[in-house]
């Protein structure tokens, strides 16, 4: 480790000490033991380097070089209702909670919900009111020592989103968590989210990440899903951080028998964004669908690492990840599919498609299939290309201008992923956003 990295790690340690002092009696709790173990893991491992296979294409040195300040307490940082409204869904039925720098903002959120069917609240509250459930699941799926970022998130677990859906409860209204980064300090916002969907339940969870500050910050998020037997979960994740921000996310779905998960991950922002999404299919008859769309311009770096772990027989997984890269942006897709020895009759399909809008944009794509069962169907395919000349000429030969033709084709390529979002208000919003961003991107690259 370099001197600077040691210095950075020491600054996280001193933040941790401050946190510990503020805890008073709680410092001996089970949760805090987990925090302490995570801090130790961070100190021991340090930040990943491109020498590690998992991080070969994504250099996090710019993040490791800077001491971001973990946010220990809520502060509104001047964010108004109007600011938040811009990123909230225009769906009166939606349950929407706002977090600032990782901490729940009661002043900007609709009331939390707690009835027989569903409880939607923030993690800090759930520590008190749902202690048993939280301690049974928190940190049990995303390992605190998986990497420096999960370690940092776990070391500073304080707040985040918490949802508990009771058995047999079908929640039609989408539940939306809006995470806003704000203020003039280089903070680390580290929300920790826990979603528990009971047997036969149904729920749609949306996470949105935006930044209202040009001061570089780090969003370092972990979301754990516990998906009960025969439960149906849709998870839509919109990463629209500030262009100078860093975004590292870890999402885990722990799926039980006959459950169904659809994950749509949309990445628009950040200077370096890295998302790790893992589905563990720990029962039979499970279906999991991971979709992704990334738009990159300028010098953005967007990395999606997905892992689908087929542990049991008769499960299906579908995966389509697309990227549109302009300017000097860089994309990474690494799609792991494990098919364990027991997982006979697995049906897994992975597709990765990249559209390059400039000669200087690049993508590193790596399918990684590890199959230990013999009676399975697994396919994967990756395509990388530029806009199709014949399609461009066809549109232009009808009078459509060059730029509009380019926008139409790019939009058509991208929108395919957005169309898989089932939440109407979000899909409409995303459609408008993609349209707008592609045009902005074009202006930017001129």
């Amino acid at each position: 480790m370099s001197d600077n990295e040691l210095h950075v790690l020491a600054s996280y340690k001193s933040s941790f000490d401050r946190l510990e002092q503020s805890l008073n009696g709680e410092a001996a709790s089970q949760l805090h033991t987990l925090r302490r173990r995570a801090l130790t893991a961070l100190e021991e491992k340090g930040f990943p380097t491109t020498k590690e296979e998992e991080w070969r294409f994504t250099n996090v040195a710019p993040i490791a070089a800077k001491s971001f300040v973990p946010v220990l307490h809520y502060s509104h940082e001047g964010v108004t209702r109007a600011d938040a409204a811009k990123s909230l869904l225009s769906d009166p039925e939606a349950v929407q909670m706002v977090f600032i720098n990782g901490h729940f903002s009661s002043e900007l959120s609709s009331a939390s919900i707690a009835d027989g069917k569903v409880r939607v609240t923030n993690l800090a509250t759930a520590f008190r009111t749902e202690f048993e459930s939280v301690s049974r699941h928190l940190g049990k799926y995303v390992r605190h020592d998986e990497n420096a970022f999960t370690a940092m998130n776990t070391a500073f677990v304080l707040d985040g989103a918490y949802v508990f859906v009771a058995d047999n409860a079908q929640i039609e209204a989408p539940i939306h968590f809006l995470f806003i980064a704000a203020g003039n300090k280089s903070v680390m916002a580290a929300p920790r989210n826990l979603i528990i969907a009971g047997k036969n339940s149904k729920v749609s969870i949306i996470e949105t990440y935006v930044g209202l500050t040009a001061t570089p910050y780090l969003s370092n998020t972990v979301t754990e899903f516990v998906v009960g037997e025969n439960a149906r979960v849709e998870h839509d994740r919109l990463q629209d951080e500030h262009r100078d921000a860093f975004h590292i996310s870890t999402v885990h779905f722990q799926q039980s028998t006959n459950s169904n998960v659809v994950s749509n991950a949309i990445n628009l922002g950040g200077s370096i964004a890295r998302n790790g999404i893992t589905s563990v299919l720990a029962g039979e008859g499970i279906e999991t669908t991971l979709n992704g769309l990334s738009l990159g311009t300028g010098t953005q770096h967007i990395d999606n690492h997905t892992t689908i772990d087929h542990a049991k027989p008769h499960c299906a997984s579908h995966e389509i990840y697309k990227a549109v890269l302009d300017g000097k942006s860089r994309g990474v897709f690494n799609g792991k599919i494990f098919v364990r020895k027991d997982a006979q009759k697995t049906d897994a399909k992975q597709t990765n498609k990249t559209l390059l809008l400039s000669d200087e944009a690049t993508i590193d794509t790596k399918p990684q299939l590890e199959i230990f069962a013999d009676d399975v169907k697994c396919t994967h395919g990756a395509t990388v290309g530029y806009l199709d000349d014949e399609q461009m000429f066809y549109l232009r030969s009808r009078g459509v201008g060059f730029e509009q033709a380019r926008d139409i084709l790019t939009f058509a390529f991208a929108i395919d992923v957005i169309n898989r979002v089932h939440v109407d208000a979000l899909r409409n919003r995303l459609e408008a956003m993609i349209h707008e961003r592609l045009q902005e991107g074009r202006q930017l690259e001129k």
């Binding site: 066809y394 030969s397 009078g399 459509v400």
Partner: protein, 252 residues
């Protein structure tokens, strides 16, 4: 309307057109016939502005303007339309969305107000009858999953909506059964007027039974070697292209 003078064009360095001359006036229908590889599609492509073709000599005037100076979209906005031999599939772009963008680009270029969604829809409903096309094709992606006949009908439907001054039909008859051929030809005939012109590029005489040309030109080895009235097409059908070649050799 269209004056082609001594047009030479190459693809990847190989000259395909060796000096084509052609005059097309408003109200006329011209047929350009020729064997495979004679340069018919190259000529159509050069006129529509395909980038793969390089014009090395000659000029093309279109309504008094230099056609070759214009990019493909400007040619279309000035009223030129190419019905593709192989219409392109564009997944994810609906037929109506695409056509509305095209029509409004053309209208704006010509100083007309763009049509709103309602106006456009009523126009489309009117025009679609012309080619007897199922309405659901409108909402599908451009040409995606269309049958060969549906693709060609879609070309003529687009032509009906965009109302070009000069339409070039590139092998529109290829791959059509007789019923589809009739529908396509009917559509073209209904769109004919004294103000617009049509150039039909074809290998076979068959289509010309339905779209009756005023002039027939024979293109062989990149040159128009013979021109005549509609009867020339019948003669060609009867005697084949070799007859023209032989005649040429005798003449030389």
């Amino acid at each position: 309307m269209l004056e082609i003078r001594n047009l030479h064009a190459s693809v990847t360095g190989n000259e395909i057109l060796h000096g084509v001359d052609l005059n097309v006036k408003a109200g006329e229908v011209h047929a350009i016939m020729g064997p495979n590889g004679s340069g018919k599609s190259t000529l159509a492509g050069v006129l529509a502005g395909r980038e793969a073709y390089e014009v090395t000599e000659g000029q093309v005037r279109y309504n008094g303007k230099d056609l070759l100076e214009m990019d493909p979209e400007t040619r279309a906005r000035e009223g030129l339309f190419l019905a593709f031999q192989y219409p392109v599939e564009i997944p994810g772009v609906s037929n109506t969305y695409f056509l509305k963008a095209a029509l409004n680009a053309i209208r704006t270029h010509n100083g007309l107000e763009p049509l709103d969604a309602m106006e456009f829809l009523s126009l489309v409903k009117d025009k679609i009858k012309l080619v007897d096309m199922p309405g659901d094709l409108l909402n599908r992606s451009v040409n995606e999953g269309f049958s060969g006949g549906e693709k060609k009908r879609n070309e003529i439907f687009q032509m009906a909506v965009l109302e070009p001054k000069l339409a070039i039909l590139d092998e529109t008859d290829s791959g059509l059964d007789i019923d589809a051929l009739r529908i396509v030809a009917d559509g073209v005939n209904k769109l004919r007027s004294k103000d617009n012109a049509t150039v039909v590029v074809t290998h076979y005489q068959r289509l010309l039974n339905y779209i009756v040309p005023d002039y027939v030109h024979v293109l062989v080895d990149g040159k128009i070697v013979k021109s005549g009235g509609k009867d020339l097409a019948l003669l060609l059908e009867e005697r084949g292209y070799d007859w023209v070649r032989e005649e040429l050799e005798v003449g030389a």
